[in-house]
Each structure stands twice: as C-alpha cells, then as structure tokens.
C-alpha cells in the first residue's frame, strides 16, 4: 500500500470519527430485518428502506463523510502541507486518497444494501444493489473529494446537492433526474435485477457514461487544484 494511502486510511479509520460511518448502514440493515421479521410485505417496506434510505440517503451521505475527509480535513487542519512538501506529482497524492475514499465508502454502502436486497427479494437484487452501490459510491466519492479541494465548505455544498437537487427537485422535475447520481444508481440496480421494488427513469448507458465523466472530471479537477495549492499568508 502506498504511504499516502496508508496515512489516509489511518487518519480515516484509526480515529473516533470512524464511528460516524456506522449508524446509517446499521439502520438500513436493522429496518430491513425488522420489517421482514414483523411480516410486513416487502412491497410496502422496500421502497422507503432501499430506495429512500439506502439509495437516497446512505449512498450519498457515506461518500460525503468520507470523501470530504480524505483530503478536505487535511486542508482544513493544515496537515496537507506535510504531504505537499514532498517531491511527488500531485496525481500521486490525489489517486491513493481517492482510492481509499472509494474503498471505504463502497464497503459501507454495498454491505447494508446487499443485506436489504436479499431480505426484500432475492440474492439477485442484493447483487444488483451491490453493483449500483459501488458504482454510485465511486462517483459520489470522486465528486466530494474534488469538492473538498475546490471549496472550504464541501460538506455544506455536498448536502445542498444531495438534499435539494437530488432529494427535492428530482421529485417534481423529472429532467433533473438526468443529472442525479442517485438516479443512475437506481437505474443500474433496476436493470440488473428488474423488480417492482425499484424503477429507474434514466437509461443505463447514460447512467454509466455520466458516472465515468463525473469520476474522471472530478479527479482531474482535484489534481489540478492541488497542483496550484496556495497557503494564505498572514493577513492583517
């Protein structure tokens, strides 16, 4: 493992804030098993739990927490200087950090989605949700890592995107769904395991192409911004 990835993983997982990543996945698993155990039909609980909580909240929020931490929190607390004063091309800093963010987010997203999918319908739906979750988490993580280099308020802006654009506008304006990572994930899951539980509006080729564009574009922006990273001098 590269030293950057090791440092990033240590800082992400070796501290108390790793516990922030536990409640949401646990909630998805808990609600799915409770509902099924109580004999509620999956037609009625799967939409809110898998579609609403899983793909609507868990999928964006975990990468938001992780993606803004791997680089953004180092910029915030100043430790980024320690990494930047090394004779490394900046992509060698961004890529390992992004890889850690993707690995951690994808795991925290895919595992509970798999459990919920299996409980609700079938292993096939579980597998479909894993694929959709991993691809979605990858795109979200890349987006939020880039956001954390571009702005000093990445969490706020990320939440605005998730809550307002994807959460609110997509409900009323179908057009905004064309630019919604969450909808891409729904479309992918629905395509791999067609069930009445999820219904995607976006074409799968478009969803995959957009995810690729977002990952590549965000990564390029992050590298570019880190190359010209400036420290504010004393201002008085």
């Amino acid at each position: 493992m590269s030293t950057i990835a090791w440092l990033t993983a240590r800082s992400l997982l070796g501290r108390r804030r790793v516990w922030l990543l536990i409640p949401l996945p646990a909630l998805v698993v808990l609600l799915a098993t409770l509902a099924e155990g109580a004999g509620v039909s999956s037609e009625s609980w799967a939409r809110p739990v898998i579609g609403g909580l899983g793909l609507g909240v868990l999928l964006p929020v975990i990468p938001l927490l992780v993606g803004t931490s791997v680089l953004g929190s180092e910029i915030d607390d100043g430790t980024i200087v320690y990494v930047l004063t090394k004779p490394l091309p900046r992509w060698q800093i961004v890529l390992p950090k992004l890889a850690v963010a993707i690995a951690v987010s994808a795991t925290a997203v895919a595992v509970p989605l798999f459990v919920a999918g299996v409980v609700a319908h079938s292993v096939r739906l579980g597998g479909a949700l894993v694929v959709a979750g991993v691809i979605g988490a990858t795109a979200y993580a890349a987006l939020f890592v880039a956001l954390s280099v571009v702005t000093r308020r990445p969490v706020l802006l990320g939440l605005v995107y998730v809550l307002v654009w994807e959460g609110l506008l997509a409900k009323f304006m179908v057009g905004t769904r064309m630019l919604s990572l969450q909808q891409y994930a729904v479309a992918l899951a629905d395509r791999i395991a067609p069930t009445p539980l999820l219904s995607g509006d976006v074409g799968v080729p478009l969803a995959l192409a957009m995810c690729a564009v977002i990952v590549v574009g965000s990564t390029a922006v992050a590298i570019r911004r880190l190359t010209t990273f400036s420290m504010a001098g004393e201002t008085s």
Binding site: T3, W6, L7, T79, L84, P87, L88, S230, G233
Partner: protein, 315 residues
Amino acid sequence: MSTAAAIAPQTRTSTVELKAVSRWYGNVVAVNNVSMSLGPGVTGLLGPNGAGKTTLLHMMAGFLAPSRGTVTLDGEPTWRNPAIYRRLGLVVEREAVHTFLTAYEFVLASARLHRLPNPEAATRRALEMVEMTGAQDRRIGTYSKGMRQRTRVAAALVHDPQVLLLDEPFNGMDPRQRLHMMELLHRLGDEGRTILFSSHILEEVEQIAGTVQVVVAGRLAASGDFRTIRRLMTNRPHVFALRSSDDRALAVALMAEPSVTGVELDRTGLTVRASDYGRFTRALPKIALASGIRVRQVVPADESLESVFAYLLEA
C-alpha cells in the same frame, strides 16, 4: 548581500533567490518589490507581525505564486514545481501534525514519501538530530508543543535538504527548547545548509543568524550583517522609565550626562530620553553611585519592535 558559497566547499550548496517579488491579495499589498538572495548559513527573516514574512516564506516554499517577480531555488522556479522538495524542507508556523501517529511513524512516512533508499535509517538520524528518540514511540497527540515542533523539524530534515525554511520556529517554546533549537539551526547552518527562519523577536535572530533580512510593511527594510543592523537599531533615541530613591536629584544629575537628551519628572518616576543606548546604560549606574541615589527600576519604555522597525524604515 552576496552569496556566501565559500563557507561550505565540501557539500553542494543551494541558493534561494527572489527577484523584484511582489504579492498582493486584492488591493492589499503583502510583499512589495523584494529582492534577496539566500545562501549557506543561517539567515533571520525579521519583522513585526503582519509584515509579510509568512507570505515571503510561502513563496519561497512554492506554496504561493508571486504576483510579480520570480522566486527560484538554484535557478528553478519554486511555484508549481514539487521537484524542489528534494532539496528543500519547510516547517510552517501552524502546528499541523498527524496526532494519531507516533513521531517515528510520522517521520518514517515522510522518508518513504521522499522515496529515500533507507527510510528507517534516515528516520533514526532525523529523530536523533532533534533529540526525539526517547519519545519517538509515543503518539504525537501526547507531546508538548516543543516536542511537536521538533518532530516536525525532523520530518522536514529527513531527506537531508540543502535548504530549510522555518516560520516562527521558536513560538511557544520554553527557554530550554529554544536553546536546543537554536543550537540545531546553528549546526545545520555551519554544515553549509541554507537556513532561513522568520521571527518577530530581535533577540532570537541576534543569537543565531549571521545575516538578517528585515521586512517591514511588505518591504525589505534592511539586509546584511546582523551587527550593522543592530548598530542601526541601537543608535536611535531610546526612552527609559526610571524609579529611584530620589527622582528629583537623579533628574538633575542625569541632565549633565551628554547621552541624555531629555528628562521628565512625574509622580510615578522619571522618563529619560537617551540618544545612545550603550552610553546611557553604562553611565547611569556611575551617576547614581556618585550622587548616592539608589535606582530601583530601569525599564526601556519604547522597545517595541514596531518602533524599532519604524525607525529603521526612516534610517
């Protein structure tokens, strides 16, 4: 200032060069047309807070683009050029460390990121240099401020850079830690490295820096040999607040001393203006002794660096 490349003939030396460098933020000019050349040895970057020292340091370290002018390390621009970090180490003022690592892990990670052939040996050497081997396996979060500072210096030194830049390295250190850091910088300078540290405290600079660059309000106010600048600084009018067993009699006696240019008497004591710091402080005990007056307190009343620097700018 000329480059002093002759000091260390054995090792390859490095030069940081600023040519007509300015940096502004919007309408605020932080650094105004500064040119300087830093060669081997310890140089102090002296100036009051807000003078632009940090801005200068950041430009030298490649963390800020000059708005105008060029900043180079051995002829290469420092901005957007990570390759310079093979030869340059930076210790910023902000106390940023990975508190969840031990000092050994922290410095070792630094050595690895530099792709050193033997990172473990380099780590041990760097930690020995700052005398942190005793606590190297404790988490940095448990360290005192001075220990963290030394750990950061070790991380900046692990690749044996020719140039080391330190921003206010003595801030928050106790006298013993300060002395230790001064010895270290001295040693590094004597080895032929180019060491630059910023400070707003005259005495710190005086104790270790051979050459000084004085920055006031974004401009280079003075540069060169420390003693020359010190003389400039001491030969300005000084103000002292005095208290004695008989202020009135002392006032009369002091008026006869040529280095005294004015005396003021009020309820709290005497305010004395002297044209020559050295002469006055040498003459005062003799005058007091001769007239049988006991001096209880002598406080330089106008020793704030700002006033010293303001005077330098006029000089």
